[in-house]
């Protein structure tokens, strides 16, 4: 996706969750900070909420009920000087993000490896519970006669008898990869535009390991490389020539 002069990426993130067999204690983020502080000098405390949705039978009626569990995860953030590259460390989780301007895959991949190696020096990683690579793109197109068909090959389809225009939309697909070991969630939705002259959309591509602990720790970098390759393919599959022109493709 870095083959564009104006890539629409607002965030690229790699999240690695480690198995319960990886020993962890509260001093670990501090130890990692000592390793990365030369490149990531700013430190912040933060928390995110993880939403787990499950279904279970409602005893009297036997009808399935959705159950939502929200868990707060404390994270320590280490930010680069310009605060555009971020490493986040929490209990058995490592997140590496790159915000706009996204430089290149080589640059982002180096940061992933750098953070992973810094962690590996302080913690014995025994298993990978989950790993995900996600690219969030915000795409703005001229509003004048905006027609999604002109820009997107991944878009909502409305039959002739459905009312147009619609107020808003969200479309999504989950694609399986590698015999269902991996999957990729693709979502396109409307976003808030900068001005009345443009329409804005978020194209969110989230590739992850579907089967917990189905790769070895030493396969992590290979998995990330492959995930990036697949994401690039999906991204290209989602957009049309008009968008490539807007992104100013490097020939």
């Amino acid at each position: 996706m870095a083959k564009y002069n104006n890539p629409p990426i607002i965030e690229a993130v790699c999240e690695i969750k480690f198995g319960k067999d990886t020993k962890w204690d509260i001093t670990i983020p501090g130890l990692i900070y000592n390793e990365v502080m030369s490149e990531f000098p700013h430190k912040e405390q933060h928390a995110i909420q993880e939403v787990n949705v499950s279904t279970k039978d409602n005893a009297p009626t036997k009808k399935p009920m959705a159950r939502t569990q929200i868990r707060t995860i404390d994270l320590v953030r280490f930010l680069s000087e310009d605060k555009k590259a971020i490493i986040q460390v929490g209990e058995r989780v490592l997140l590496v993000s790159r915000l706009t301007p996204y430089q290149s895959w080589a640059d982002f991949n180096n940061h992933i490896k750098y953070a992973f190696k810094a962690l590996s020096q302080k913690v014995t990683i025994n298993s990978i519970q989950r790993i995900g690579l996600r690219y969030i793109n915000r795409i703005e197109v001229p509003k004048k006669d905006t027609c999604l068909d002109d820009y997107f090959e991944f878009r909502p389809f409305l039959g002739e008898r459905l009312r147009k225009p619609y107020a808003s939309f969200i479309v999504g697909c989950i694609f399986p990869f590698n015999n269902d070991r991996d999957s990729c969630k693709v979502e396109l939705s409307q976003a808030v535009a900068e001005s009345k002259d443009v329409s804005a959309f978020v194209l969110d591509i989230d590739y992850s390991l579907s089967k917990p602990q189905s790769i070895d720790v030493d396969q992590s970098f290979e998995w990330v490389d492959k995930a990036h390759e697949e994401i690039e393919g999906i991204f290209e599959g989602c957009i049309s020539r008009s968008l490539r022109e807007l992104f100013d493709e490097v020939k």
Binding site: E11, E15, Q49, V51, L95, R134, I136, S168
Partner: protein, 145 residues
């Protein structure tokens, strides 16, 4: 705080999708986009969305506060209320903060009471925040859209 979600027509859909494919957590980009979209869907005018995005990126805890307040506005006011979101800086970048103004056609006494009730929902969240947020009214009429 990274993935706060307020009630929106798409919340249930996203929950279902989440079950099928747990989302890779990230920084705050997606929660900023979702929060702005939700506010926009509530008849809001956002002055310079890019400046608001930059502010929320710098002070992520304000995204959650904005989300909480928007949800409360939805509970306390009807469809005639309009929101106006902007960055106030008084010409000084160091003193900038995010302001959400409520505008209604008629300003009776109950409006301020309701605003104060909503303020109570978020004041405590500012205790540990590095950025600043204000929810109030500028007593202007809603803009005709």
């Amino acid at each position: 705080m990274g993935s706060c979600v307020i009630a929106s027509p798409f919340s249930a859909l996203r929950m279902l999708f989440e079950k099928m494919h747990p989302t890779t957590a990230g920084f705050d980009s997606i929660s900023i986009e979702e929060t702005l979209s939700n506010i926009y869907a509530m008849n809001a005018k956002i002055e310079s969305p890019s400046k608001v995005r930059v502010y929320l990126e710098r002070y992520p805890e304000i995204t959650e506060i904005l989300s909480v307040v928007s949800e409360q506005v939805y509970q306390y006011f009807d469809y005639k209320a309009q929101l106006y979101l902007n960055i106030n800086d008084d010409g000084d970048a160091d003193s900038e903060y995010l302001a959400l103004y409520l505008r209604v056609p008629n300003y009776d006494e109950s409006v301020m009471d309701r605003i104060e009730k909503i303020q109570k929902y978020y004041y405590h969240l500012l205790d540990n925040a590095t950025g600043w947020f204000l929810f109030t009214t500028d007593f202007l009429p809603p803009e005709v859209t």
